[in-house]
């Protein structure tokens, strides 16, 4: 198992990425805004870093809680889940959306229906 850790601070158009350990599994949280003009600049290195920290570990978790996601980020997020799942078939994806956010909820449902076999749960987060 890798001892790599990962933390990326949120920018005005890219999300925060945080890595934590839960037993021997990795929990990677991606939260905030994802609307970079060039999505590959952000998601390609992120994919490589996630690959690196998850190497050898099983039952990893990817937790998403995005406030905004542009359509190009959507494809990159799908690629990221798909690639992590290839290395870890026991991967768990938790897709959170803020209450009332129909688009982010719909995006979660779409990805769940595309990603056959992935343990993919969708959770509403109620904010007061």
């Amino acid at each position: 198992m890798s001892s790599e850790t990962l933390y990326i601070e949120a920018q005005e158009d890219t999300p925060m990425v945080k890595h934590e350990m839960e037993g021997s599994s990795n929990v990677i949280t991606i939260a905030g805004v994802s609307m970079p003009e060039n999505t590959l600049d952000f998601y390609l290195p992120l994919l490589q870093q996630i690959d690196l920290v998850c190497t050898g570990a099983k039952k990893n978790k990817l937790v998403f809680h995005l406030d905004y996601m542009n359509s190009m980020s959507n494809k990159q997020v799908l690629k990221l889940i798909s690639s992590t799942f290839k290395n870890d078939p026991e991967l768990k994806v938790i897709w959170k959306y803020s209450n009332g956010d129909q688009l982010i909820k719909m995006k979660g449902e779409e990805m769940r229906s595309i990603l056959d076999g992935v343990d993919f749960s969708i959770e509403e987060v109620v904010t007061l």
Binding site: Y68, D101, E110
Partner: protein, 356 residues
């Protein structure tokens, strides 16, 4: 020609224009200033832009402090850059009982020369006369820093209210001229007034469509206290991201001034978002075809289209338009091709989101 096209045509030569009409108690000054700041990279005269931002804070806070806040119909802020100068116009409703004292205060300020203004400014600060409402410090500051271009008008509306209009300019080249010609500002203001009439509030912008602008625009919308319904607002925010990024990605400019335009109109029943940009005729035809196709799809078909395009990971095909169609359903997207010249056209894209 619809009013929107007239506004676009009348302001087409302006590299930057920002207009917001509405209740200024409901928005944060900072978010509006950040929208101006997002144009800093493109500004040829950065120091003048910063001065405009600084004085705009004073002008907007004047609306917030002194407006009678009678509905949203009257109060607005307008800034534009025409290549020679930045010009600012503010309008707010005041009580008739306050109009004489405001006029007296302004007449004193306007009559002073630069040295006297500086003296008055420091005297006010030192005497601690600056109260919570500022004791007119903002107006003195605007006059001091705008080469004394300040001009005002107070017009009686009815037995209770008057309209207060304030104009000032930051020219690129400082001249000895003491009177500034605001006829262009007055014309643009009149056109925007006509356009925004009947809306609860209205935003019009032309300038840089960078992600800094989009982030600032979203902050402005989030700060709008009147936006209580999360569901409708979230939809508007998602749609704005797609549409503004589309302008950035697809707009082709005939000249650097024609960067793109966006309108947001808040009404009782719905919120309307419209964007405008120049593009090649072929691109416009392509977009029209896509829009006709999506407008003809029912909800299930739209959901399926979205899934199909998303699942095709190797395709560069954008999901943006499908997302917009999904979010506004059952409303339809509207595309108008206008201002044709050679193989370039203007593309006006509009959608309505119903209030839920």
């Amino acid at each position: 020609m619809q009013l929107k096209e007239q506004v676009i045509n009348d302001t087409s030569q302006l590299p930057l224009i920002v207009y917001y009409k509405g209740n200024y108690e409901d928005i944060s000054t900072e978010t509006l200033i950040n929208i101006i700041e997002s144009n800093e990279k493109l500004a040829k005269r950065k120091s003048q832009l910063r001065k405009v931002m600084f004085l705009s804070v004073e002008a907007i806070q004047n609306i917030q402090r002194y407006s009678a806040h009678k509905g949203n119909e009257w109060d607005h802020y307008l800034l534009f850059f025409d290549g020679d100068s930045y010009q600012v116009v503010t309008q707010n409703l005041i009580h008739n009982k306050d109009s004489q004292s405001l006029k007296d205060k302004l007449d004193v300020i306007v009559s002073k020369d630069q040295t006297e203004l500086d003296e008055l400014y420091f005297k006010k600060i030192e005497s601690g006369e600056a109260t919570e409402k500022g004791a007119g410090l903002g107006l003195i500051e605007i006059t001091r820093k705008s080469n004394k271009s300040i001009r005002y008008e107070i017009k009686k509306v009815d037995e209770e209210y008057s309209l207060f209009n304030l104009y000032f300019a930051i020219p690129i080249a400082i001249t000895e001229e003491t009177t500034f010609d605001f006829s262009k500002a007055i014309n643009i203001q009149a056109k925007l007034d006509q356009f925004s009439k009947g809306t609860e509030s209205c935003f019009y912008y032309g300038g840089d469509f960078s992600n800094s602008f989009i982030a600032s625009l979203l902050d402005l919308l989030v700060s709008k206290k009147a936006e209580k319904n999360d569901n409708t607002n979230k939809k508007v925010h998602h749609i704005l991201i797609e549409l503004t990024q589309n302008i950035k990605k697809h707009a082709q400019f005939k000249n650097e001034n024609a960067r793109g335009r966006i309108f947001i109109e808040w009404n009782n029943q719905h919120i309307e978002v419209s964007t405008y940009n120049n593009t090649h005729l072929d691109n416009a035809k392509e977009l029209q075809k896509k829009v006709v196709n999506l407008n003809g799809a029912n909800k299930e078909q739209l959901v399926q289209k979205s899934k199909d395009v998303l699942a095709d990971l190797d395709s560069a095909n954008g999901l943006g338009l499908i997302d917009v169609a999904n979010l506004i359903y059952p409303n339809k997207m509207n595309v108008t091709v206008c201002n044709e010249s050679n193989d370039h056209v203007g593309l006006l894209f509009s959608i309505k989101i119903n209030n839920e």
